[in-house]
Subunit: 160 residues, 2 copies
């Protein structure tokens, strides 16, 4: 799934003044235009716009599509993202930053470990303990991990 990594730069700069580096969203949209296309050439902005509208999606203007592709506009609304994803046949999450995906992977990794009954029991028991006790427990676990020769995985968390 990680094969399509639009990165670097679209170099779509025509005016010579390369002020805006064109964000990651622009790179992705550009990538979509380049890769998913009709037999010959690319879809025109107008074509995509009408196709989306006729597919029951929201109204979207060709000019706006151009802006998205060239980084003149980032930050589209949910409905527009949905429509774009639908047209190009990619999951909506495609447009979001990969750093976030990594964090989510962490979350899912955590959840996956909870499948293990024993781990799950520990987690359940730990629930309700004070912060101090929890960090004490965490340290104990750390020691045991060392004893068992387990790697010192980074336990990143967000907020507070």
């Amino acid at each position: 799934m990680a094969d399509v990594r639009p990165e670097g730069d679209g170099a779509a700069d025509s005016t010579g003044a390369g002020a805006a580096p064109a964000g990651p969203l622009a790179a992705k949209v550009d990538h979509l235009f380049r890769t998913v296309r009709p037999a010959k050439g690319e879809y025109s902005y107008e074509h995509v716009a009408t196709a989306i509208r006729e597919a029951g999606g929201p109204t979207i203007s060709a000019a706006y599509l151009w802006m998205l592709r060239n980084g003149k506009r980032d930050n589209p609304t949910m409905r527009h993202l949905e429509a774009l994803a639908s047209f190009f046949g990619v999951p909506p999450g495609y447009f979001f930053d990969d750093a976030l995906a990594a964090r989510v992977d962490d979350q899912l990794a955590l959840l996956a470990t909870l499948r293990d009954v024993d781990v799950r029991r520990v987690a359940l028991r730990a629930s309700g303990l004070s912060s101090e006790s929890l960090s004490t427990i965490a340290e104990m676990i750390e020691r045991v991990r060392e004893l068992e020769g387990l790697p010192e995985r980074a336990t990143e968390e967000h907020q507070d």
Copy 2:
């Protein structure tokens, strides 16, 4: 299983005019507020707003969060979706795809017991330990629980 599918809730209508059934997005946001929460109660809108801002996210107002949850506003922008997803620990696609949402909801139900981040951290650390070590840890936790005057809850399943 676990049909925790947020659907057609509505009900939270205070103005008597039950015109808007509150779209699917509102249902999802509401569901997140209900499930992922601090030890007691729910996160306040203000809390979420500041947490997002301090996490390097975009500015988001508490009032707007309320609107999203109550369906007064659907169609947020990409940046706000990203911030919300990040805070609640779900993939951004959660807000789009229903199938994905259902799957994540199942996970969330499990995580509901692991209310605060500290518990999560412990769970992560415990991952990979041998069964013996795990039961040792579990016993230690049991002692601490006693010390903190917590009930001796059975390790049994939790029904929603």
